[in-house]
């Protein structure tokens, strides 16, 4: 018992469809996007009504359901076609890359064309549609089919007069399909006030999908909506879808919650000076960057740098161009020294150049999704997003861009968008008002002064990045974009020649200043030297005087000594004969005595 429980859990985990909804088993259609909206596919073993007006793709959806079932999920299918023959169907879906003939050959598919023409059939009495059951049952059994397409069962209403019988038989048919556990798509033509012309939705209440197409300003958009899905949650909105060379793709859900991860990698913009404006490290990987500016301010050239830098790091890039062709962009970039051709040849760069008006916004978005899925780039350039404005209303464009940005964010792909701002409108308002959607906003602007037009660049915002608040002058040179410090002086901000002139003036002023200083220094030196000479002369004079004074002092001293000696001599000459005892007695003192003694010896 425990083992079986375990086994059950493990199968639940391995099958995502069962895991998503344990109550209702689902049957994956294999149609891109549809399984996401229905959270796993159509209700298994139950009929699903697909309705819509003529030409909206009901049959194609049904056929893809069968073909994908046969080729991808190992579930053979039966198509009961009331409108087209097997040959017609084969030809019709060959354009989607489906080879029905081969599938029929491999016993993966049976197409039974049920032909009914009102005028050729006479109704005489009671009847039922047992033969339809017989045919369907036979076809299902012959290949072990798991999927059925009834396209479109409403043709019966045109072919048979007895509506009551028909309705009862249809009800019986749908019940029969359920009993046989066949996952079925029943197509129905859109009615005036109802989902289907003949009220099929009364009998098919498990799952109802409505297809629609709208033409807005000559552009067609196909839409799909899951109206009802009993026993399961599902996406509620209208989702645009495409019918293309590889089948139907439905645009997946706009992510409602902002749950994408973030990346802390900082990437170089390719312009070193711009990197320094971003705190020296560039932008975050996976951020959305907007470059806005009036025409001719160098938006495309700047994005060229981003692309070349990314390719240089070995990353893959996609350029979605709505104004210029691939060749034109490559040529123009070469003129500023960026070689994109090299990266295209290396397979790192992919161009997608279309006129925006060729198809609707949804179509654009879907195509972009497809390219991104196929190419898996790390940088996507949309040049310009304003190009998309022509493909829809402002509201639509905004929501489309939101979805695009979300889509890229989820995959941590950096989005670089350029937008053209018209001269008259406020500079800090982009036409489509996507400023709040982006993380980094670079503004390029014209600076007109002194009879010339120069370019300025500044960072209007950069979420999570310390960035410069300065306006730099933006130069397009033959070796790429260069940023210069602008001149800020008394006269305000100067750019271009005015800046050059001012810089020259400044330089000469500085030179003059330097010369003045040199002159002053020279003068000072002169003075210093003159003074020091004076000091030396004075010193000399002082020394001379000192010497003279010394001499005088010496002379005076000699004089004094001499005087004293003379006096002594005189004294001794006076007392030597009178007192010879004095010297022998020795008791007498005083100079007179000594002198006398000296004089005595």
């Amino acid at each position: 018992m425990r083992a079986s429980k375990l086994k059950k859990t493990s199968t639940n985990v391995t099958s995502p469809t069962q895991f998503l909804s344990s109550q209702l088993p689902k049957c994956p259609t294999g149609i891109q996007g549809l399984d996401e909206i229905t959270l796993g596919g159509l209700p298994r073993g139950r009929p699903t009504l697909v309705c819509g007006s003529a030409g909206c793709g009901k049959t194609l959806l049904g056929m893809e359901f069968l073909v994908r079932g046969a080729t991808e999920f190992g579930e053979p299918g039966v198509c009961l076609s009331f409108e087209e023959t097997a040959e017609e169907l084969t030809v019709n879906v060959a354009s989607l890359g489906f080879d029905l003939a081969a599938l029929i050959e491999q016993k993966q598919l049976v197409i039974d064309h049920v032909y009914l023409e009102r005028g050729l059939i006479e109704e005489a009495g009671e009847y039922d549609l047992e033969a339809l059951f017989v045919r369907l049952g036979y076809a299902v059994d012959s290949i072990g089919a798991k999927r059925v397409l009834l396209d479109s069962v409403e043709a019966l209403f045109a072919g048979l007069q007895n509506n009551e019988t028909l309705r009862a038989e249809l009800r019986r048919l749908f019940r029969w399909l359920k009993e046989r556990n066949l996952t079925t798509i029943v197509t129905g033509e859109r009615g005036v006030n109802a989902l289907t012309r003949h009220g099929l939705e009364e009998y098919l209440s498990d799952c109802v999908i409505v297809l629609d197409h709208q033409v807005t300003e000559t552009v067609l958009t196909r839409r799909l909506r899951v109206v009802k899905y009993r026993g399961s949650t599902h996406g509620m909105n209208e989702y645009p879808f495409l019918i293309e060379s590889d089948g139907i793709s439905v645009l997946p859900v706009t992510s409602m919650d902002l749950k994408y991860g973030v990346c802390n990698d900082r990437l170089s913009t390719g312009v070193p000076a711009l990197d320094t404006m971003f705190g020296g490290a560039g932008y975050y990987r996976g951020s959305s960057i907007l470059i806005s500016g009036t025409s001719g301010t160098g938006k495309t050239s700047l994005s060229g740098h981003f692309v070349a830098a990314a390719c240089g790091r070995g990353e893959r890039c996609v350029i979605l161009s709505f104004e210029e062709s691939e060749a034109q962009i490559i040529r123009n970039m070469r003129s500023i020294g960026i070689d994109l051709k090299h990266w295209v040849d290396k397979g790192l760069l992919h161009f997608h150049s279309v006129r925006p008006c060729t198809f609707g916004l949804e179509m654009h978005l879907l195509k972009i999704h497809k390219i991104i899925r196929q190419f898996s780039p790390s940088l996507v350039v949309v040049d310009p997003v304003t190009g998309l404005l022509h493909a829809g209303t402002a509201f639509e464009t905004r929501s489309t861009l939101l979805r695009l940005i979300d889509f890229l964010k989820e995959r941590q792909i950096t989005a670089l968008m350029t937008t053209l701002t018209s001269g008259e409108s406020a500079r800090e308002q982009t036409e489509i008002d996507i400023s709040s959607l982006v993380d980094v906003w670079l503004l390029l602007r014209d600076i007109e002064s002194g009879g010339e037009r120069n370019r300025g660049i500044y960072i209007l915002k950069a979420r999570g990045v310390a960035h410069s608040n300065q306006i730099r002058e933006f130069l397009l040179t033959d070796h790429g974009v260069e940023l210069r410090e602008v001149y800020l002086g008394d006269a305000g901000m100067l750019t271009g020649s005015a800046r050059v002139t001012q810089e020259a003036q400044d330089a000469s002023a500085a030179l003059m200043g330097r010369q003045e200083i040199e002159r002053k220094q020279l003068l000072l030196e002169c003075k210093r030297r003159a003074l020091s000479t004076q000091i030396a002369a004075l010193q000399l004079a002082l020394e001379t005087e000192q010497q003279e004074a010394q001499q005088l002092i010496e002379q005076e001293k000699l004089k004094v000594t001499k005087l004293e000696r003379d006096r002594g001599e005189m004294a001794s000459s006076r007392f030597v004969k009178n007192s010879p005892n004095v010297s022998s007695g020795g008791s007498t003192s005083g100079p007179r005595a000594r002198a006398a003694a000296k004089g005595g010896t």
């Binding site: 039974d112 049920v114 006479e122 005489a124 009495g125 009671e126 009847y127 039922d128 549609l129 033969a131």
Partner: protein
């Protein structure tokens, strides 16, 4: 009506060749056969042959002859092929369907 297809009527090569498609011996299919036999004997005595095809036994035949409703009567000969569905209880509609109405009115004139 045990076999998949059973022939009723006299001549081996008949002017009128009719096929009645049924699915088993239901009340409707029995009723249709009885009604058909009656109409044929009345209007096409000696000129017809009826083949009964049971789709429960030969389901593959349903698609080939584009059979949808049961019972279905198919007039193979004379050309063109015509189809009548139902238990053939409405004789007038059967005659219209078999294109016998006109012949009858033409012979009565």
């Amino acid at each position: 009506m045990q076999s998949g297809s059973r022939r009723t009527g006299n001549p081996p090569v008949a002017k009128w060749e009719l096929k009645l498609y049924v699915a088993g011996q239901t009340a409707k299919s029995l009723q249709a056969f009885v009604n058909l036999k009656r109409i044929c004997d009345e209007h096409l005595a000696g000129e017809y042959r009826i083949e009964i095809i049971d789709l429960l036994l030969n389901p593959q035949l349903a698609a080939g002859d584009q059979i949808l409703a049961l019972p279905t009567l198919v007039r193979k000969l004379p050309e063109p092929v015509r189809k009548i569905i139902g238990d053939l209880s409405n004789t007038e509609r059967v005659l219209v369907g078999l294109d016998l109405q006109r012949q009858q009115s033409a012979s009565s004139q």
